[in-house]
C-alpha cells in the first residue's frame, strides 16, 4: 500500500506523490501544471516539463467577474498541449492553494483526469528534486470541452442565501479575524473591496490551512481531517455544504479536502465569497 493510500482518503487517486511525478516526467499521457500566487515564481524554476496556468490570466474572464468559457478553456488546453485523454497534475506554491483553485476550475469543464501533487512546490523543492527555467513547448492539441457546468460544484449568491435560510452548513475558511469581522482581509493582504466585515450566518470557521502539515505542505491524514471537519465542526459526508473565503481561492482548497479526501458528496465553492457577500445590500451578516 502506498503512503498516500495508507492515509485513508475517500479518493486517494486524486493525489500523487512527488515520487510518482518524478517517475512520470516524460510520460506523454501526463501534463504537469504549476499554478502559483506569484506569477513570476514559475519563471524562476519549475518541475521539468511543467506548464504554467495562471489564475488571473488563464482562468478568469478578462472583463466580467467570471471564469473562462468553453471556448477559452479549449484554447487554454490547446495551448498547454492537453487532450481530453491526458491526466493533468497540478502543483504550486502556498500549500497548493492555487493548484486546487485551478483543479476546481478544470472540474467546471469536466476534466476529471486531474490530480494534485501532495506537498506542492514546497515539498518538491525541499526534497532537492530537479527544477528548470526552460519553458516547455508542446504541439497544440484539439480539445473539445463540454460547456462549463456550474451547478454541481459552484454556488452563486442567491443559492447561498437560500442555503442560509434553510439552515444548511457553510464553512468560512478565512482567518478567525476575517470571520469575526475584526479584519476585512487577510493579514498583510489588501482589502479587496468589502464594505462589511463578519461572516455568512451559520458558517463554521475552519481556516483552510488547517488541513495541511505546514512543514512540507502535505495534506493531513483522513483521520485528522475527519476530526477537524466532522468531529469538531459536526459536518457529515452527506451534508450539502458551501465553502467560501474572499474570492473563492482559499475555499477551493477546502472544497478539495471535503469532496475528495473526505468523500463529501455535495460540496460547492462560493467564489463570489466575501468580496461579494460583504458588499451585497440587505443580506444577513453575523459577527
Amino acid at each position: 500500500m502506498s503512503e498516500l493510500s495508507a492515509r485513508g482518503y475517500a479518493n486517494p487517486d486524486v493525489l500523487t506523490s512527488t515520487d510518482w511525478v518524478a517517475e512520470h516526467l516524460n510520460d506523454p499521457s501526463i501534463r504537469i501544471i504549476e499554478s502559483n500566487e506569484d506569477p513570476l515564481l514559475y519563471g524562476t524554476g519549475h518541475i521539468p516539463g511543467a506548464v504554467e496556468v495562471d489564475w488571473v490570466r488563464d482562468l478568469n474572464d478578462p472583463l466580467r467577474r467570471d471564469y473562462l468559457d468553453r471556448a477559452g478553456f479549449e484554447a487554454l488546453m490547446s495551448r498547454i498541449g492537453v487532450t481530453p485523454e491526458m491526466t493533468v497534475v497540478f502543483y504550486g506554491d502556498k500549500n497548493n492553494w492555487w493548484a486546487t483553485y485551478a483543479f476546481w476550475v478544470f472540474q467546471l469543464f469536466g476534466h476529471t483526469k486531474a490530480k494534485i501533487m501532495d506537498g506542492g512546490r514546497l515539498k518538491w523543492e525541499k526534497e532537492g528534486r530537479p527544477m528548470t527555467r526552460e519553458i516547455p513547448s508542446y504541439p497544440p492539441t484539439r480539445y473539445i470541452a463540454q460547456e462549463r457546468d456550474d451547478r454541481r460544484i459552484r454556488a452563486f449568491r442567491d443559492q447561498v442565501l437560500e442555503h442560509v435560510q434553510a439552515g444548511l452548513p457553510l464553512v468560512d475558511v478565512r482567518s478567525p479575524a476575517e470571520y469575526t469581522g475584526e479584519r476585512l482581509h487577510m493579514e498583510q493582504y489588501p482589502n479587496e473591496g468589502a464594505l462589511r466585515g463578519g461572516h455568512i450566518p451559520g458558517a463554521k470557521n475552519v481556516p483552510w490551512a488547517t488541513a495541511i502539515n505546514p512543514e512540507d505542505g502535505t495534506f493531513k491524514p483522513a483521520a485528522e481531517l475527519r476530526a477537524i471537519y466532522q468531529e469538531e465542526q459536526g459536518l457529515k459526508p452527506d451534508d450539502d455544504v458551501i465553502v467560501y473565503c474572499r474570492i473563492g481561492e482559499r475555499s477551493s482548497h477546502t472544497w478539495f479536502v471535503l469532496k475528495y479526501l473526505l468523500g463529501f458528496e455535495n460540496v460547492r465553492n462560493y467564489d463570489g465569497s466575501w468580496t461579494e457577500w460583504g458588499n451585497l445590500v440587505g443580506v444577513p451578516i453575523e459577527r
Binding site: L40, L41, G43, N191
Partner: protein, 164 residues
C-alpha cells in the same frame, strides 16, 4: 509614448522597456532578471526584527522600506523582502532602487504607484497589484517625510526617526 514623459529618466527608460513587451514570458523573464539584482538592506541600515513602521502594508511578501538622506539631499533607498519566494516584490524593489535612488526626495515623492501596472501589466491580480503599489506608496511617504529634512552634519538620516 508621451504618457511616460515626466518620469525620472532612468525610470522612464525601464517603463518604455516594459511598454514594448506583449509576451507574458518575456515580461516574466525581464522581471525575474531584475529580481536577481535585488540586494537586501545591509545590517548597518537595519537588522531583524525589522520595525513595523518600515513594513509595507498589504504586501504578502513582507517587504520593508528604508531611505537615507545623503549629503547632496538625494535619497538612497533600501528594501527587505522576507518571503524568499516573493519574486515580484524583489523585482519591484530592485527597480525602485535602481531608478529612484540618487534622486531628491521631492522627485521620488512624485512617482505614482501606477507604475506597477506599467511594469507588471494591467492583468496583474488585485491583491498582487495592491501589495506592489503599497511598496511605491511607502517610498512616496518616506520621501515626502524627508523632503522637509535637512541632512545632518554626518550626512545621514533614516526615515522613521533613526539617525545614523
Amino acid at each position: 509614448m508621451t504618457s511616460l514623459d515626466g518620469y525620472p529618466p532612468s525610470l522612464e527608460k525601464i517603463l518604455r522597456e516594459f511598454s514594448q513587451i506583449t509576451d507574458r514570458y518575456e515580461r516574466a523573464e525581464l522581471l525575474i532578471s531584475y529580481a536577481g539584482q535585488f540586494k537586501g538592506v545591509p545590517d548597518e541600515i537595519a537588522s531583524r526584527p525589522y520595525p513595523e513602521e518600515h513594513r509595507v502594508p498589504y504586501c504578502e511578501s513582507e517587504a520593508y522600506v528604508w531611505a537615507v538622506l545623503q549629503p547632496d539631499r538625494t535619497l538612497k533607498l533600501y528594501f527587505a523582502v522576507e518571503n524568499p519566494q516573493g519574486v515580484s516584490a524583489m523585482a519591484m524593489a530592485a527597480i525602485l532602487d535602481r531608478t529612484l535612488s540618487g534622486l531628491p526626495p521631492e522627485r521620488i515623492a512624485a512617482v505614482s504607484p501606477e507604475i506597477v501596472l506599467k511594469i507588471f501589466g494591467q492583468d496583474i491580480s488585485m491583491g498582487k497589484g495592491q501589495g506592489l503599489m503599497g511598496m511605491v506608496s511607502m517610498v512616496q511617504k518616506i520621501a515626502r517625510q524627508l523632503s522637509t529634512v535637512q541632512p545632518l552634519q554626518r550626512g545621514q538620516y533614516l526615515a522613521g526617526g533613526d539617525y545614523l
